[in-house]
């Protein structure tokens, strides 16, 4: 608990300072509210639109989580396939890199053309952007297995399947955790970008669509949505980091984190 307070205090102080600076800058320089609203104005807009905002947060979070979880599964599965053959790797890797480097903003409209607007397309955009870190990390984890360990498995005549399941996959867990941390943040970005293009059909919409609307109607609401998106990103990133470190400590230490002699 004490540690938590220590960790949370500095960012909290900084937060208060930034809010104060923001407020006095707006007031002091007389900036127009449609350019930069005051913090209190943003808060007011958030409260006024709270049901819309909360629903949008929930919807975007759901899309991001669906995208993230499917990228975890499909990404690990792809890495398993990649680990099995150099030929598969060398023929597929260029496309995996293509997936990473092609601007997601450019792909999103294509996805809408192909699959129509709606939640599923938002998930798809989120999935596509968060897939790559998982594939590369887990693949390199699977390939980085100590050659002596591979020899050990060969010595005991392990089948290909046993090598994958009992050696490569567990060996790549720390790599998966590292990839998941990057990927979780990107899944949120992907969901919001996806909603720019594919989120406009639903009666009730996510943060991305709210941001788009905000540019036309109310800067304060726009700010509220942007801040909510940021908080959502931080929350998902934090949660995946926390889960990741729990998994890691389980991975390398006995259950319950016992100590020598325990």
């Amino acid at each position: 608990m004490n540690r938590l307070v220590k960790a949370a205090l500095p960012p909290a102080v900084l937060f208060v300072l930034v809010i104060a600076a923001w407020h006095y800058a707006v007031v002091g320089f007389g900036i127009k509210a449609f350019l930069v609203p005051k913090p209190s104005g943003v808060w007011q807009a958030a409260v006024e639109n709270r049901s819309e905002l909360l629903f949008a947060i929930g919807l975007t979070a759901a899309a991001a989580m669906c995208g993230f979880v499917s990228s975890l599964l499909i990404g690990s599965l792809t890495a398993c396939v990649f680990s099995q053959s150099r030929m598969i790797r060398s023929s597929c890797y260029p496309y995996a890199i293509f997936l990473q480097t092609v601007p997601i903003v450019a792909v999103a409209p294509i996805i809408v053309v192909w699959f129509g607007a709606g939640f599923h397309s938002v998930v798809l955009v989120s999935f596509m952007i968060s897939l790559f870190p998982i594939v590369t990390n887990v693949t390199s984890g699977m390939l980085a297995v100590d050659p002596d360990l591979l020899d050990l498995f060969r010595l005991y005549r392990a089948s290909r399947w046993q090598v994958l399941w009992k050696l490569r996959l567990p060996h790549s867990v720390p790599f998966l955790v590292a990839g998941a941390r990057t990927s979780s943040g990107m899944a949120v970005v992907g969901a919001i970008v996806g909603e720019f293009f594919a989120g406009n059909l639903a009666e009730r919409h996510g943060l991305g669509y709210m941001i788009l609307q905000g540019t036309q109607f109310s800067t304060a609401k726009l700010f509220a949505a942007v801040i909510a998106s940021t908080l959502l990103g931080i929350t998902i990133f934090g949660a995946s980091t926390l889960i990741g470190s729990t998994v890691l400590s389980r991975w390398s230490d006995p259950k319950g984190g016992g100590h020598p002699g325990a």
Binding site: D146, D148, L149, L150, D151, L152, F153, R154, L155, Y156, R157, A158, S159, R160, W161, Q162, V163, L164, K166, L167, P170, H171, V173, W251, S252, D253, P254, G258, H259, P260
Partner: protein, 307 residues
Amino acid sequence: MSHEMSVNATRVEMQFPSGQLGVRDVSLSVRRGELISMVGPSGCGKSTLLRMIAGLMSPTSGELQVSTASSPLPLGEGGRRPGEGRPALDSQNKDSAAREADSQSESQTHRVPQPSPLPEGEGTAATDPRIAFVFQDSNLLPWRSVFDNIRLPLELRGVPFGEQRAAVESSLKLIGLKPDDSAKRPRMLSGGMRMRVSLARALVTHPELLLLDEPFAALDDLLRQQLNEELLRIWTEQRWTGLFVTHNVAEAVFLSQRVLVMSKSPGTFIADIAVPFEHPRDPELRSTPEFAKLTGEVSRSLREAAR
């Protein structure tokens, strides 16, 4: 046990795809139940030779034969034959039919002309289940407990869990590990303990040929001596055939019945020094003049080898 394996190598040569020679013109004859040490300058090919004997790679020329007196052989607790309980193997193994037939009969032979060295892929090793290998670093799986590490070879062979547990427990006891240790992860163990676990894992299958590649190189001298004594005690009890690679002359002499000295790279054997002390050996043996005389002889031969 009366089924220990013997090893016969005739003019074995290993040339890597890079053109580098691993060993050249190696001839070696290890009798059943013999414990032999191999010393030689770094890079002379000791590991290469052990890996060939283990079946992890094939010689590019010469003949290497690993054979037993009687067959089929009991393996582990269940008296299972090599090949049983591993259904996934056959489909993977190109020459598995031939190999399987081999291990049923008297011997397993690598002859010239050789197929190209074993591919680096999985599930393709033409290894003999009666051989165990102890690597230089303990080579344990960090995500597995001591117990789960030791049972790995049995698990890979599809031995039922109950049998695995019994075998692991007796192996733990044999190697001087407490039952409490079995839940720990490798990273919580000292270097000496890790090496014990590694030994226990190698012994859990009741191998008939144990190949040890500088297993104690990373340990301090006292620990090394302790483990030497334990290894020797276990060998005296079980009498498997053993090939022990080391850089430590005292260790080589203390453990084995013969010390083979290899020349510098590409290595070949240049000396075969008999160690006449009988087993069981007393730790005090190390302070006798006869012991000093022999280590002196081996050291001299090693100096020649390095020239």
